[in-house]
């Protein structure tokens, strides 16, 4: 056995190992590219406009006031169903097969924007705002995808008007919302007031994720998809 043939043998083994590694890496990438779910669904424009407001009825579960105002006083503002504050723990949207537990708390970032969850597979809620079911706009955000594939809110763009959204809360209750509309906005023209501002009394919910095309330079999506919903039942 000469030194050169030993070396040659070692190089042969190295090459064989390299072959296996390359095949696994390459094959994996090709397989993933071919089986990748493709771009996430986007809401079509018909979903962006709410259906004409239907007068809320006692069917909404709102308790009838014991003393109905009879005089010509200012009419009772109708806030619909309201729940006591309680943090959200899980989110369920059967129509798009979304169910996620362990919602994380989100704060505000350095530019005043809502922070995104650090974990791609977890949704988060804006913890300084109202809890889902409470007065005002509760906000839940989640990633549409990670750098590798679909994330927790991948299907959010497929959500339709009228769909039910359930939020399970820490106190054991469930807040049930109905989707009013789903819209897509360029982040450069994000309707801050519409999404985050006071709802005039109702308990509402905003679900936010990314949409549209991706900016290759920044690595971020150019649009946000926002679903607007209001509370119909709290128990």
């Amino acid at each position: 056995m000469s030194i050169s043939s030993t070396l040659g043998g070692r190089r042969g083994v190295l090459a064989a190992v390299a072959t296996v590694v390359l095949l696994v890496l390459g094959g994996g990438l090709v397989a993933r590219a071919l089986t990748a779910p493709g771009p996430p669904p986007q809401p079509d424009s018909s979903q962006a406009v709410a259906a004409p407001a239907t007068p809320s009825t006692s069917a909404s579960g709102r308790p009838t006031p014991a003393t109905a105002p009879t005089a010509a006083e200012a009419p009772d503002p109708d806030f619909g169903v309201l729940m006591a504050p309680s943090a959200p723990v899980a989110l369920r949207i059967p129509s798009i097969h979304l169910a996620t537990k362990g919602l994380v708390e989100l704060g505000i970032g350095t530019r005043g924007e809502l922070e995104a969850p650090k974990d791609f597979q977890r949704a988060g809620w804006y913890a300084a705002g109202p809890t889902p079911g409470e007065f005002g706009p509760a906000v839940i955000a989640g990633h549409v995808d990670s750098t590798l594939g679909p994330a927790v809110f991948y299907h959010l763009g497929a959500l339709k008007k009228g769909a039910q959204v359930m939020v399970d809360r820490k106190d054991g209750s469930t807040a049930t919302f109905v989707v009013d509309r789903v819209a897509r906005y360029p982040k450069a023209h994000f309707p801050t007031s519409e999404v985050y501002a006071d709802t005039g009394g109702r308990a509402e919910l905003r679900l936010i994720t990314c949409g549209g095309d991706i900016d290759r330079r920044s690595g971020h999506y150019l649009d946000n998809v926002v679903a607007y919903a209001h509370l119909v039942q709290g128990a």
């Binding site: 072959t19 007065f135 990670s146 985050y196 990314c210 946000n224």
Partner: protein
């Protein structure tokens, strides 16, 4: 050896390409002057009410909307924005009950939220002087308040305090004995002609900047170009495998 080096380079290269999607932070979005407060029951006072308030600051003018539910119906509810440079700038806690009465009155809340800086009256003056102008506050028909008032002038200090998240919205009026009206022997610490029920703090919330602009909720892993990239990269690696495989086969043959 050279193959090992090439393999290393290829792996490093693919790792770099794969992380391209992760990207950097996007350009700033401009925050407007929206602040919001979630109004919740004041400690010890046992009011099952809640609400929201939103204050938009434009220079020295503020626009206010407020909604609340569960308050004592058809009774005036004084509502204010409080701020004190020396205050804790928060809602009062049970430990603020200095006289040990088991409830919190407005003065006991002072160390938490400071003095009145804006009176949220429906008409007329909005200065602290109108703090107890009971005839000009919302009377909460059905226990509900739906309030809106624009262009209230405030001092630069107050505007700044609101923007900085240091001001507190308080709605007063607590029916401690649940008899449907403000009464009782204890007089208000603010105005002895009123029972303390009329002025005790009911619900409270700190005004804080609402989020502004879009949210970065994507990694880009399912956007189409990445698939093309993965396909090309994977194809390249497989081609390389053909090369190293041939080399290994040749070496194996040589040994035989």
């Amino acid at each position: 050896m050279s193959i090992t080096t090439k393999l290393g380079t290829a792996t490093l290269g693919s790792a770099l390409l794969l992380t391209l999607g992760a990207g950097m932070a996007q350009a700033a979005t401009v925050a407007d002057g929206n602040t919001m407060a979630t109004l919740r029951p004041v400690a010890l006072n046992g009011v099952k009410a809640s609400g929201t308030a939103m204050v938009t600051v434009n220079g020295n003018r503020i626009d206010v909307t407020m909604a609340a539910s569960g308050l004592l119906p058809d009774s005036p509810h004084a509502a204010h924005i409080h701020f004190g440079a020396d205050a804790r700038n928060e809602c009062p806690q049970a430990s603020d009950d200095k006289d040990g009465s088991g409830t919190l009155n407005t003065t006991e809340g002072g160390p938490a939220y400071g003095p009145i800086v804006v009176s949220l009256t429906k008409t007329g003056d909005t200065s602290p002087k109108s703090g107890l102008a009971v005839d000009r506050f919302d009377t909460a028909p059905g226990g509900k308040i739906s309030y809106e008032r624009g262009s209230i002038t405030v001092s630069p200090d107050v505007a700044q305090a609101i923007t900085d998240g240091k001001s507190v919205v308080v709605v007063h009026g607590v029916d401690h004995n649940n008899d449907g009206k403000y009464d009782g022997d204890t007089k208000s610490d603010l105005d002895p002609s009123l029972p303390t029920e009329a002025t005790d703090p009911a619900i409270c919330g700190v005004l804080a900047a609402a989020p502004a602009g879009g949210v970065q909720t994507g990694g880009g892993g399912t956007s189409t170009p990445d698939n093309t990239l993965a396909l090309a990269l994977g194809g390249g690696l497989i081609l390389a495998a053909v090369g190293t495989g041939a080399f290994a086969a040749r070496k194996a043959t040589n040994r035989l």
